[in-house]
């Protein structure tokens, strides 16, 4: 699950850095804001833009701290644990707990997904009529239900 990001991978667009590249989409930002505010509230466009900027700054700030830790420990890849650690170090303790649980669930699901794919491949072989003893789930979705996979 490691993305190879070369130092020369950043695109320059002829010297002009597209603002869209360094900001999260304003529609997404606006939606998150709206969901947390009371129904009759209004948000000015400038306020949305400001928070959009702040979110990017937040990512940079935390990434910088996480990256520093990796450098000090002579590791090349910034992973999820580094990100959690950096948030705690920078005072965002409240986030660390929910994020660690989120990360845990993500890792579990990735493991389950890998398992499902493995079983799906075996089922495909058995459906061909080779193994009549092997249990064949009626559909992959019922297989998921049997595994009790839920959030």
């Amino acid at each position: 699950m490691v993305d190879n990001v070369g130092a020369g991978a950043s695109s320059d667009d002829g010297g002009v850095k597209l603002e869209q590249d360094r900001l999260l989409p304003i529609a997404n930002v606006g939606r998150i804001m709206k969901q947390i505010l009371p129904p009759n509230s209004k948000i000015s466009k400038e306020a949305k833009e400001t928070i959009q900027e702040c979110a990017s700054e937040f990512i940079s700030f935390v990434t910088g701290e996480a990256s520093e830790k990796c450098r000090a420990e002579r590791r090349k890849t910034v992973n999820g644990d580094d990100v959690c650690w950096a948030m705690e170090a920078l005072g965002f303790d409240d986030y660390a707990g929910p994020l660690r649980r989120y990360l845990q669930r993500f890792r579990e699901m990735e493991g389950e997904r890998a398992n499902q794919e493995k079983h799906a491949n075996i089922d495909n072989i058995s459906i061909g009529g080779q193994e009549k003893d092997a249990p064949v789930p009626s559909s992959s979705s019922s297989y998921r239900k049997k595994q009790g996979i839920r959030m």
């Binding site: 699950m1 490691v2 993305d3 190879n4 990001v5 070369g6 130092a7 950043s10 590249d21 360094r22 900001l23 999260l24 989409p25 997404n28 930002v29 939606r31 998150i32 947390i36 505010l37 009759n40 509230s41 209004k42 306020a47 400001t50 928070i51 900027e53 702040c54 979110a55 700054e57 937040f58 990512i59 940079s60 700030f61 935390v62 990434t63 910088g64 996480a66 990256s67 520093e68 450098r71 090349k76 910034v78 992973n79 999820g80 990100v83 959690c84 948030m87 920078l90 005072g91 986030y95 929910p98 994020l99 989120y102 990360l103 669930r105 993500f106 699901m109 990735e110 997904r113 959030m151």
Partner: protein, 121 residues
Amino acid sequence: MRQAGTYSGLLSGGLSGRTGPHSLPLARIKKIMKKSGDDVKMISGEAPILFSKACELFIEELTQRSWMMTIQGKRRTLHKEDVASAVMATDILDFLVNLVSNSSHSMDNPVEVETIATSKS
């Protein structure tokens, strides 16, 4: 239709059905992470996913704090000045001080420009 990206498998077959769709685009988050510094070379796949959740929490918190300023001003529209006030009032948001003061105070304090005399004889 956009081309399938690095994270499309995760979004369609993996987490989206379980945790809900990611509110924020993972590829964009990764770009922003890369730009944060030259020493950021390799990023694990899970880091942008964590950030998509973290940014959601962050935006929510900043919005709520800003809204408290709006309420104090007896208004119902959240303005950028409210965001600036919230940043000033919160220690952990110190890293945003320059960002919000740049946007809310334009040309209040003219920047002093040092002219360096270059003498070429």
